[in-house]
Each structure stands twice: as structure tokens, then as C-alpha cells.
Symmetry: C2
Subunit: 386 residues, 2 copies
């Protein structure tokens, strides 16, 4: 049995997405910037996909810029509003548990002598609202927080955060990294009135190399790349029409069933936890106590006295694919900055495994996964006892 | 008859490229940064595509960074070696006929108070080597020149340019925008020893949203986007495995037949010119006298007293798709900066049409195109006489 339980890292593209892209290659192959009708048709198709995506996030007061993915969207949000003067005079804030494509942008600003602070999180992995309140000032230029954490699935109270920030400093821009949320939990930008919201296609069965940044009307962005002036002069480069069509399709396949899928994913999560707890000892669950703060499709556990990397390689040999935390850091195996920020002890961090799945996971797969896990953990523990 | 003669703008993706991508979706869907075997296999596949592309440019002393396309590659080359200090103290040079994704990066540097100069071209559209020689100094940090111009097909003497620059200032970095050259004419980076060479997939039957920057060994690049540290810490973001595989396939489909294709494309060009000249009066050919300086697959002509945009819309209604110059400037119809740099008069610029094609264009298509062109031009000229 092949069992891919690493969908927070990337998903296998959906067959219907492939079909829609394959169709688009011949219908919309023109350069959307061309004046002739082949270009015009491609352009029209992109605009309709743009409208679909905005609607899917209930974004009634926002516009959308297509990018090459979540990393670019996150970079564009922060760097696209930050000029030299702001770097020298303003204050920048991001949480300690952001994805590398956010936190390293702030690290870069700090390296360039900007005044950057990192917001701590509680032991449960939620942004510390009291600390945030103390840190925000009228000089805070932009703050980045994520919607769903990619390593723990912990959901941040983004509405509360935005309300808190805007109350204390109405001009501070708020960027929400929604890459792990969009298409998975309800995203409602009328309710969560972020200035920027980043999304990505390949996390939800869409193609690689396509993402978007949703921007509040009236908020101006400068490009981070210069060229032909596509995407309203914000993102130059020939538009990736098939990728954009694939992104739209992947979104449509998920967006209307989010609530229904979530119910199913919660059931799978509970089943998984029950199986694991009944068969293995010395397991720490890294999750939030309250279900409102937990996206169920990311289950992070830690196995006492067993290094996560060893287990995941053993599972991989068995055809089961999970992650030791974020896979986004290019094969690095240093301790997770997210788990560190949650002040977990080293032993828990060393044994942390991320299992990520969606509503299609079956009871047989759950059983097979837990059996394999048990087998390898016991084997490792026996070896270490000798 | 549908006749797409705008392949310098973008190409219809090759069916074999689609097939290889479709296959890859299920074989190499893992995140190449993941430690498990699905990730490892994807990573291995990317490395093999990287080697193919380097070999296709005969790049023995270079490495390659995958990007989201030509625009990003060009931005990365220039901005990736330019820090704040260099902006304040160094000199920057690019030619007057660069693609917007190059020239606007230099415009941006100029806007940020850097010392930027633009190298003029001769009336025939070739970079003025004497002027270049006078402009380069030991303080010149980087210079960008293109290999094949996207509006005229004029081939720049990139080897001579690099030799000239390096002789006068060995430390000056030379960036060659090869987006319209790679896969179309012979690209040999042992001979043309550029520090940077930009390439793009969708100009040669490959997918949108994929490009690369080839970089000389020993030349260090800083990222222009921060994140997970993929692509040797230079270009973060989950790798676009299917896109990279498609880029490799598109390259392989063209690279071994470049010389043979060129012979065929020259024949088509000559046929096209003969037909046009025999049936239409008041035509100016915008081309170089010497065939070494002309890529034959881009034919730029100007029709006296007929606005190019009118003709291209009429042709479009007939199912014939050409361009009025660069399509990359997002539907702008201002005069071409390339033709301006060649000091063509306004009348010639107003009537300029770019016909771009490859070796597959048939005799029937040539006839049909010229007949349609003749018909519309005569119609317009009759209308204007009234």
C-alpha cells in the first residue's frame, strides 16, 4: 500500500485539474497581453478565474494578483509595501511561528537594519494576544500572521488579531498567510478583513508554480520584479494561463464542500489518535485543546526517545510518506522554529512527526499506518535497549 | 484557416511536452524538499532536468537556478548581485533595446538613484560597440544585453560584447537575456562566457511559469525572494517539478535540430519577403543586412500609411495572429522603444508589424497570410483616400 500523508507539504494534483489544464493548452494559448483575439480570449479566461478565486475567499473589498506561488505572495505582501524610508524608520512585526517564506523576509529586513520584532506564541501555539497588544504601535508598518500553521495545524485567531491591531494602530497593514487555510477551512475576507491574504494552488490539488495575493482595495503595492507590467503593473511576466485555470479548478473542487470535508477530517483525526494511543506508549500530542484552534488535517505527534527522521525514513521504505515538520526548509533537519516557539522540550521536538491528510483517508489506511508506525517504533526501541 | 504567427510572444505548448508533464504528475508529485522517497525521487528528476538544460546551452562552467520565467530570471540576475552599497557607488549599463523585464529593472535602479546608462544601438539595431567601449569602466558593476531581440530578431554579437567588456573591466558582470535565443539559435556558453544567461520555457513550446537563470561558477547571487531555501538558497518556493520536466522536454525537442530548423526558417522568411514585396507596395523591411545578425524567425515589416494596430485587428478577425511589436507590455500601444532606439521615423514605427514563426510554417500558410495582408492593406488605403 502506498500512503501519502504529507499533503501539507504538497498534494498530488487532482485529475480534474489536469483535465482542465490540458483543455486550456489549446483554447487559451495566446499571450494574454496580445491585442489579437487569441490573446484576448486568454485574458478573459484569466479574469474569470480571478473572479472565482476572489469569490471563494468571499473577498468583496479586495483585488487579486497572480504570483508564482505562496513564497512569492508572502514576499510581495511584505516587500511590496516597504521602501527604503520605511525600512529605516518603521517597525515590523511577525509571529515566531510563521512559514520560512514570511519569517525569512522579516529576517532579511532585520539584516537590512530595520526594526523587526517577533511575536511570541502561547504553549498551545497561538499568537500571544497580550504580547501582540504591547508590541503594536502607531509606528508598526506591517504585521504578518498565518491563518493555519503548517507544522501543527493550529488555527490563529486572525479576526481577533486584525481587530486588535487596527484598534491600536489603524494604519498598520496586516498580512495573513493563508496558504494552509484556503480551500481547507472557511476563508471569509469580509469577516477577516486583512490587507493581504496569500494563497497557493499546489496545497489543494492544484498545479505547482501558481499562487495569488489578495489585496484590500485602496492598498497600493509596488512590484518586487519589474517588466512588462502585467497584473496591474504589480507582477510582470507572461501570465501562466493554464496554471491559473488549474488553480481555479482545484479551488472549485474544494470550496463548496469545506464544512462537509472538515467533519470527515475530524472523524479521521479522532480515529487516528485513538489507534495511535491504544497501540503505542510514550506519545505526546501536539495540538490545541479547543477544536476552534485546530485544523484537523494536520496531526502532529511526538514519540518519546525515537528520532523523527529515523521513523520517517523507515515508513518511507514501507511506502508511507510523512514529514518531520516543515518540508519547506530544503532537507534541513534542524529543530523546528515553530515547536521551539511553543517551548516544547528538546526530546519532544526530536521525536515530532507531522501526519497530514484530507477527507479521502480510509479506515484501512488508518489501520495500516498505525500498524507500521507501531512496528517501527517498537523495533527502534528494542534496538536502543540493547 | 487559423494562423498563429506570434510565437515570439508565446508558443502553443507541444503535445509531447504535455504528455511528459501528465506523466510526471503521478510519478514525481512529492515535494522535492521532503526527506521521504517520493520527495527524493522528485528531487532526483529535477537534478536530471537541470543537467539537460545546462548541457543544451553547452554550459560547462555554469550552474542553473530554476525560476518562474524569463522576467524573474532577468530580475534575479541584476538585482541578485546588487546591494544597497553598489546601488550608491557603482555604475550600471544596459542597452536601449532590452526587453521590459531588463530595461525596467535598470529604470528601477535609476529611480533609486543608482548611476545607470543605456547603451545606444546602430540604425541596424545592433549594440554600438564603440559607444559601449566608451561607457564601460572599472566601476561598471553589471551590464545587460540581449542575445536575440524580441521585436526585430536582430542578433547581438554577445561574444564580442563580453570580450570587449571583460578586457576593459574584468570584474564587470555580464548578463545576457537569452529568452528569444535559447532553443532557436545555437547557444554555447563555453564560447559566449556570460556571467548570467536567462532562458524561458514558454517561448519554445514549453509550459508557462518556468524559466531559469544560468550562472557562472563562482558568481554569487543573493535571493530576491526569501523562504525555504530551495535552489541552493537562491530561489525559495516549492519546486515546479512538472514545469521543469516540461521545460526539459521542450528543450530536447528543439535543441538537436537547431541548425536544420534555421535553414528551413530562412527559406520561409525569404519566401514570405518575396511574396510580400511582389504583392504590396510601400513596405519597409526592418532587418539586418547580414544574416549573422538576423534571426530569421522574426520578420518585422512596416506598412506605409497604415497603423499596425488596425491591420493586426483585421487579421485577427480573419484568424491570423501577429503582433505590433512586443506583446509583453500589457496591451500598451505606445511606440516601441526598440524601433525608437534604431531611430526609425514615426511613420515606420506606426506601421510596424512583427510576424514570428518557426520551421513548421507551410507554403500555403505563407500564401494565405500575404493574401490576407494585401487585402486588408488595400482596403485601408482605399478608405483613407476617400
Amino acid at each position: 500500500m502506498k500512503l501519502y500523508l504529507d499533503i501539507a507539504s504538497t498534494t498530488e494534483i487532482h485529475q480534474e485539474v489536469i483535465n482542465s489544464m490540458n483543455e486550456s493548452y489549446h483554447l487559451f494559448y495566446g499571450n494574454p497581453s496580445s491585442v489579437h483575439s487569441v490573446g484576448y480570449e486568454a485574458n478573459k479566461r484569466i479574469e474569470s478565474a480571478r473572479a472565482t478565486l476572489l469569490k471563494s475567499a468571499n473577498a468583496k473589498n479586495h483585488y487579486l494578483i497572480f504570483t508564482s506561488g505562496g513564497t512569492e505572495s508572502n514576499n510581495l505582501a511584505v516587500l511590496g509595501v516597504t521602501n527604503r524610508h520605511q525600512k529605516q524608520t518603521s517597525h515590523f512585526l511577525c509571529s515566531e511561528i510563521e512559514h520560512p517564506s514570511v519569517i525569512r523576509v522579516y529576517d532579511h529586513l532585520k539584516h537590512e537594519k530595520a526594526d523587526v520584532s517577533y511575536i511570541p506564541v502561547t504553549k498551545q501555539g497561538v499568537i500571544d494576544l497580550k504580547a501582540l497588544h504591547d508590541m503594536v504601535s502607531s509606528n508598526t508598518h506591517i504585521i504578518s500572521v498565518m491563518h493555519v500553521n503548517n507544522e501543527t495545524g493550529i488555527v490563529q485567531p486572525v479576526k481577533e488579531i486584525i481587530d486588535l491591531v487596527k484598534k491600536k494602530s489603524p494604519k498598520t497593514l496586516v498580512h495573513v498567510d493563508g496558504v494552509q487555510a484556503f480551500g481547507k477551512i472557511n476563508v471569509d475576507l469580509v469577516n477577516v478583513n486583512a490587507d493581504f491574504y496569500s494563497i497557493s494552488a499546489h496545497k489543494i490539488g492544484g498545479p505547482r508554480g501558481v499562487g495569488a495575493l489578495i489585496v484590500k482595495n485602496g492598498v497600493n503595492l509596488s512590484p518586487i520584479m519589474w517588466g512588462g507590467g502585467q497584473e496591474n503593473n504589480v507582477r510582470s511576466g507572461t501570465e501562466n494561463t493554464p496554471g491559473i485555470i488549474g488553480f481555479e479548478k482545484a479551488t472549485l473542487l474544494r470550496i463548496n464542500n469545506t464544512a462537509e470535508h472538515l467533519v470527515k477530517i475530524w472523524e479521521i483525526r479522532k480515529e487516528l489518535i485513538e489507534h495511535i494511543m491504544s497501540r503505542l506508549e510514550g506519545i505526546t500530542m501536539i495540538e490545541h485543546d479547543l477544536s476552534d484552534y485546530q485544523f484537523p488535517g494536520i496531526l502532529t505527534i511526538s514519540i518519546d526517545n525515537v528520532k523523527s527522521e529515523v521513523i520517517l525514513r523507515m515508513l518511507s521504505d514501507n511506502g508511507i510518506y510523512i514529514s518531520a515538520g516543515s518540508a519547506c526548509s530544503s532537507r534541513k533537519t534542524t529543530a523546528s522554529h515553530v515547536l521551539k516557539a511553543m517551548k516544547l522540550n528538546n526530546a519532544v521536538m526530536d521525536g515530532a512527526l507531522r501526519i497530514s491528510f484530507n477527507e479521502t483517508m480510509t479506515y484501512d489506511q488508518i489501520t495500516y499506518f498505525v500498524q507500521s508506525l507501531e512496528q517501527h517504533v517498537n523495533q527502534m526501541r528494542r534496538m536502543m535497549k540493547r
